[in-house]
């Protein structure tokens, strides 16, 4: 499967083999969710349990209609005994004329049918799904069923739907929470489409697992045992071997279906992985639509999607085929059993040991048992498909998340941030930083400078703990971040990313996301500092303007100013800006840099920058190259070092752009 995972371009979850043992482990973990929905589960269990009994009476009513009503036989013409629960009814109709008996049966039927739908009616609410795993998820998410019909069945189904929804929502909320807490380096490799697939389409499998491992087998076995017991009670004397042959049906059908479970599991996994790949293709395609269109690659992207989608359909077709094959096997076993039963009953009837009415009674018992047997077989096979989905969920729940659990709350930064002998190594083995030693004071503006790929962003990532040092320490006022509560740390560090992600909500909501209690005045101040005030005012709805996807309705420079303003509004002791001015025109840039200088009066401002106009204003400049600090100092100091890395950098940048 590991090469398959590559084929479905999954980068994080690459080794996906499930052994039977781990499958069972996963299932048991899923079942544990039931403890959180005890009330609903108990209601469903009780309703389902109660629904076992009414159908058991049906064979006997049929027998009475045939023997006593239509064929006019007396009761007890043969040695076949009615089960004890029928005795009150028999007492009631004792001595009645045949049509009186019929009327009583009809009355009993009316009650049973309206309440329980005892004549094979079942309630199912699986709405139509599509032809692959993803498009059936909605059906499963809000699905419900009951083995009985009638009012009772409707009630049970309603409870079941709520139970399914609650269980799936529990799991998908937990998954969502865990995924947002994954470390930055894992998220870099993870794909949005895959996240959508797991949260939306994998999690609805869990209700089926929970019920199929608990209620379904218990109730099915209970039903089968009761049926066999009644058969033994009534026909044990007349036809002992028949009872045992029918009882043997259950284990026989199980033996036939179980060998398919590994295959079922494999097919289920392949179907889901290829479905997620399709979602990825679609998400990436839509997200990068401007690149796709301007590079003339629409045809190529369509073809890619078409291919992935066809593959996911093809994989699912195997799942469907296996289902039909197992159904075929079920019909075949049913046929064999039915043939045996017919020959046997005819002989007994001819000998006068049974009456004609025993056929419908025995046939109904036979049907009850075969249904139980195939239910048990199907449960195990279906579980294999479910477990493929559950594994995809638990995989992410199990990934190590950022250490949120460890941690004392961090007091507000007062003096300094120190990096002591820090090494940073990426998961793929690249070393981004070597022996970094530097101290930033709590009220200075520091520029981090260096060629692309020098490790500037990695260094900045250490402060909000997006990255953790392999060796060495990051200290806030002497407190090692390793043991600090991440939320309290991030409440003090604002990081403005280079790729200014704006949510497609109103501008105001974008501010409220980072500072839920921001007032209009706060927003206005931040916007003014970032030079965003003017263009926001020119928008038709001002700060209530709803942005397009990823802020597409604004120009890149406007997006950048907005995302800086969003950083400023948090008013934290540490502010980090990654290339804040790259897309700004010089006037705007100058204004912004001045605001940063002001902001640095009472906080640490860290700016990653290439533009001299930004760098020059810094109190100190840290020049990085290949993961090492080459030079530290202010602009004047570093310029003294003729031939130094910084001086060279400045010379190239200035070139001959001086005014004449």
């Amino acid at each position: 499967m590991s090469e398959d995972a590559g084929q479905y371009d999954d980068r994080v979850d690459t080794d996906a083999v499930i052994s039977s043992a781990s499958a069972l482990g996963l299932m048991l973990r899923a079942v544990r969710l039931l403890t959180q929905v005890k009330g609903l589960f108990a209601a469903k269990a009780l309703l389902a349990l109660a629904a076992i009994f009414p159908p058991l009476t049906v064979p006997w009513f049929t027998k009475i209609i045939v023997d006593q009503v239509i064929l006019d036989q007396p009761f007890n013409a043969t040695e076949v005994r009615f089960p004890p629960f029928m005795l009150p009814f028999l007492d009631f109709v004792d001595g009645m004329a045949p049509m009186g008996i019929m009327l009583s049966v009809i009355a009993a039927y009316a009650g049973l049918l309206l309440l329980f739908g005892t004549r094979g009616e079942k309630t199912t609410l699986w709405l139509a799904g599509g032809q692959d795993a993803a498009t059936q998820s909605e059906m499963k998410l809000s699905g419900g069923n009951s083995q009985s019909g009638g009012v009772f069945g409707a009630l049970e189904t309603v409870v079941h739907i709520r139970l399914s929804q609650r269980l799936a929502n529990l799991l998908r909320t937990r998954l969502f929470t865990r995924m947002t807490k994954l470390p930055m380096t894992t998220l870099d490799d993870h794909r949005t489409g895959d996240a959508v697939y797991r949260v939306m389409y994998d999690s609805p499998e869990v209700p089926e697992i929970c019920l199929n491992l608990t209620l379904t087998p218990v109730l099915t076995v209970l039903g089968a045992v009761l049926t066999v017991y009644i058969a033994q009670y009534s026909y044990g004397a007349v036809a002992p071997e028949l009872v045992w042959v029918t009882a043997a049906l259950v284990p026989m059908i199980l033996l036939v279906t179980l060998p398919f479970s590994k295959l079922a599991r494999h097919l289920g996994q392949a179907s889901r992985a290829s479905g997620a790949a399709t979602t990825n293709a679609m998400e990436e395609n839509l997200h990068n639509i401007s690149a796709v269109q301007s590079l003339g690659a629409t045809e190529k992207e369509s073809a890619k999607f078409e291919h992935k989608s066809a593959e996911s359909f093809r994989r699912h077709l195997f799942v469907i085929l296996l289902g039909y094959l197992l159904l075929g096997i079920g019909i075949l076993s049913f046929l064999v059993g039915g043939v045996y039963l017919a020959i046997y009953v005819l002989e007994k009837v001819a000998l006068g040991e049974m009456s004609v009415g025993d056929w419908p009674a025995l046939y109904a018992i036979f049907v009850l048992l075969t249904v139980s047997a195939s239910t048990l077989g199907a449960v195990w096979i279906n579980l294999q498909g479910n477990v493929a989905a559950i594994r995809r969920i638990f995989f992410f729940i199990d990934l190590p998340i950022e250490s949120f659990e460890a941690g004392q709350p961090l007091p507000r930064l007062a003096r300094e941030v120190a990096l002591q002998d820090v090494d940073v190594v990426y998961p793929d083995g690249r070393q981004a930083l070597h022996h970094i030693n530097v101290t930033f004071s709590a009220n200075e503006l520091v520029a981090i400078v260096g060629p692309t790929g020098a490790g500037k962003t990695s260094l900045a990532y250490l402060l909000p703990k997006f990255l953790q040092p392999e060796r060495g320490k990051v200290l806030f006022d002497g407190i090692d971040l390793a043991g600090v509560d991440v939320a309290s740390l991030r409440a003090q560090v604002t990081y403005v990313f280079q790729e200014h992600t704006l949510l497609s909500k109103s501008i105001r909501d974008n501010f409220l996301l980072v500072k839920p209690d921001a007032s209009d005045a706060d927003i206005a101040v931040a916007c003014a500092a970032a030079g965003a005030e003017e263009f926001i005012a020119s928008l038709p709805d001002g700060i209530d303007t709803v942005l397009g996807r990823s802020g597409d309705t604004l120009s890149v420079g406007q997006q950048q100013r907005l995302s800086i303003a969003r950083g400023l509004i948090r008013d934290t002791p540490v502010l980090i800006l990654d290339e804040p001015t790259a897309a700004l025109d010089p006037q705007t840039e100058n204004a912004l840099v001045q605001s940063l200088v002001n902001a640095a009066q009472d906080r640490l401002v860290l700016v990653i920058a290439h533009r001299l106009s930004t760098i020059r204003k810094a109190d100190r400049i840290v020049f990085l190259d290949e993961g090492r600090i080459i030079e530290i100092g202010n602009h004047e100091q570093l310029m003294q070092n003729i031939g130094g890395a910084y001086a060279k950098f400045v010379t190239i940048q200035l070139g001959d752009t001086q005014l004449p």
Binding site: T180, D189, A195, E283, L286, Y324, T501, V514, H610, L612
Partner: protein, 597 residues
Amino acid sequence: MGSLLVGGTFVGYDLWFNKALNGEPLESVQTVYLLLDESYSAQGDESKELTYEQRETVLNRILLGATIVALLLIASYVIGGTYQAWIYQRINQGLRTVMIRRVEHLSLQYHAHSRTGDMIYRVYQDSATITNVLQTFVVTPLRAIGTALISTVVLMFFSPWLGLMLLVTFVPLIWLIVRFTPRLQTHARQARQRNSNLTANIQEVFEAIKLIKANSAEAHALREFDQESNSALDAAFAFRWDIILLTTSLMVISVSVLLFAEYWMAGWSRAEDATYLGGVVGFVGFAVWNLGAFQTASVRLADTNHHTNDVASLWSAAQDLAVGLDRAFDLLDLKATVIDAPDAQAFPEVVREVSWRDVNFSYGEHRVVNNLNLQAASGTITAIVGTTGAGKSTLMTLLLRLYDPDSGGVWINDVNVKDIAIADLRANIAIALQQNMLFTESIAQNIAYARPDATRAEIERAAQLTCAHDFILNMPEGYDAELGERGGKLSTGQRQRLSIARAVVRDTPILILDEPTASLDAATEHQVLENLRVWGRNRVVFLITHRLSTIRNADQIAFLADGAIAELGSHDALINRSGGLYRQFVQADTVGTAVDE
């Protein structure tokens, strides 16, 4: 298959109950098609009973028939069922593909205002309903109507009263269904809309995950997710609640009818009343009401009941499907606003000049380009300069026909780009976008993204030109290194260089670089621009930029203000225009950098 089963039971029930189990003699027609001799029929003796051996023989004939039917059934499930699923998948695949193509060709104006998650939901979930439409509106109703017809005929055969009763039941059933339909539709639409919102919510959260983490807004995101999720679940529940109400009400009606009928039928069977058409079609037996007749009629009634219930559930599901399809077709019905002219011309073989003539363009009510005129000749580099939001990038999107201008036009030599096929146009213009979008493929594939047939040598040459070659070779797998989503593993400067290389490798006569060097350090920037100057000798190159060091390399500088060209000329010419906008711009840039020495 369904009618085979019905027919089989119709013939079989008489044989099994009346003849085999009860020992009554066969009708003479029955002896013929069971290939039995005359000794099995009554031969005038109505009180005759079959011997045990004879009854066994009849049973064997029945079992043979049952086996054949069962095998046919299995074959039809395995082959027919899988084949049907395959057909449905093909149809769904077709619709998905058409939708994604349509989405891709919609103008960026549309995309700027739509949510990715919503489109995922439409392409995925809403389109899947198409196959169910066939099942729901064609296959199942046909089967239900077929079964109802057969049942009605069978029941008429026994008694016209039964048939009539069945028909009368349909009146309240249909009334109930009609009453429920509007509610069902409303709830189905709500459920789909809310699920669509939820998908969009998840997609956006994971797209903006860095931002959310950096601001410790996980709790906020979770709260929103929880809200959206619960509201979607509640809508789904409300829809299903309606269905249960409807089907349960229907069940009460049909069960009452069934039981009423069974009571009368039992009476007729006891009295062995003549059946209505028994004399006419004697070959199946059932000349009079008896056990077999009772069983047959009762099974028919129950079966019709089941089918009415099926139809009601399906009708409910159909409301959901209709809503789903409506949402899918909504997308298909959108007209692409940028379309090929009917008699599209070929892209000119030699590009001499690109010109914007009297171009006006607005985003909604917001005028971005205002009566703009600009020419750029082959062999020159034109820098487009101006304040943020001045319309610089928009100018290039008009050339690429990502949008069409409101009035005026963009011309290549003397051909309006509107008259060139879009695919042809975009094949001849390479652009490196500001956003540096990369795809989850290898580095080599990313560079060759828009030109999949590029050789490794061409890819490496493009990478060298943009100073990307060295850092690529430093990666463990070099050009075959796989990138994370949106190029996650690379620094912005590295992504930027790949994105320029991707444009360069296409070797087109027109090249656009949108803020190409914003994230490059000075030394790299200098080198890249120098390389491009040599490479661009016989091409039209546009640079959109703020950086003076970049601008200075241009042959002409177009300074944009308020959507029009305010100043045009070389650096030296513009810098000397006292009070000129460009001069102010340069001053602003150098105020900070002037070295106080």
